[in-house]
Symmetry: C2
DNA sequence: TTAACAATTAACCTAATTGTTAATTATATT
DNA sequence: AATATAATTAACAATTAGGTTAATTGTTAA
């Protein structure tokens, strides 16, 4: 349930961009929607996919629903990709 | 064209498993197919997706087409995810 | 309590993905 | 040359994904 949902969530460019936006700080659904040329319901579903993957968390604040990023899930993802690459990080750094 | 195709390719469990198999060494399409409960044409398309993402390379050897992993593409992916996580690798290592 | 606003859910459509079987291509063997 | 083997491509069916508009749910403010 973990890696699969994470990769699926990351496989869409709008969702990746949303995560990049939230990296700078929490935003409401409306603020997120403004940045994209698609409708609010469409963004709402993207948010729902990210939430199911536990990449974002939401809290209601009055009329607004505020989204923030949750990076803890990415730990597993990084480990998986780095392991696939099969690289000792230190060797990697020496090469650069 | 880079990140997008990589994430799309990694978003399918069969394709991730194929990469894990190839991590241990090159394999023919047939050998890969044997490990999954789907038909050869289905695996062939998965291989084609991985190839388009440049995550694998193929060379014909007689009747066989041999696939091997290409991890260089993963560099960009790792950088992207690590940057999203916003973690200084050293801090990370100290915490563990 | 009614009106307005923020956001989600519902219903629907189209495009992309994934799987199958059948046909094709390329190579090797007899 | 004919046959067998390895793999891909073509054609089709079923499912999933992503977009839209319309309807619904929460919350605030008049």
């Amino acid at each position: 349930m973990g890696l699969q949902q994470t990769f699926k969530a990351l496989s869409d460019p709008i969702r990746r961009e949303i995560l990049n936006m939230l990296k700078k700080g929490p935003l409401s659904a409306g603020e997120i929607t403004e940045h994209f040329p698609v409708t609010a319901p469409s963004i709402s579903r993207h948010l729902s996919v990210l939430k199911q993957a536990d990449l974002i968390r939401d809290t209601r604040n009055g009329k607004f629903i505020i989204y923030e990023i949750n990076t803890s899930v990415l730990e597993e993802t990084i480990l998986w990709v780095v392991d696939l690459k099969g690289v000792d990080e230190n060797v990697e750094k020496k090469q650069i």
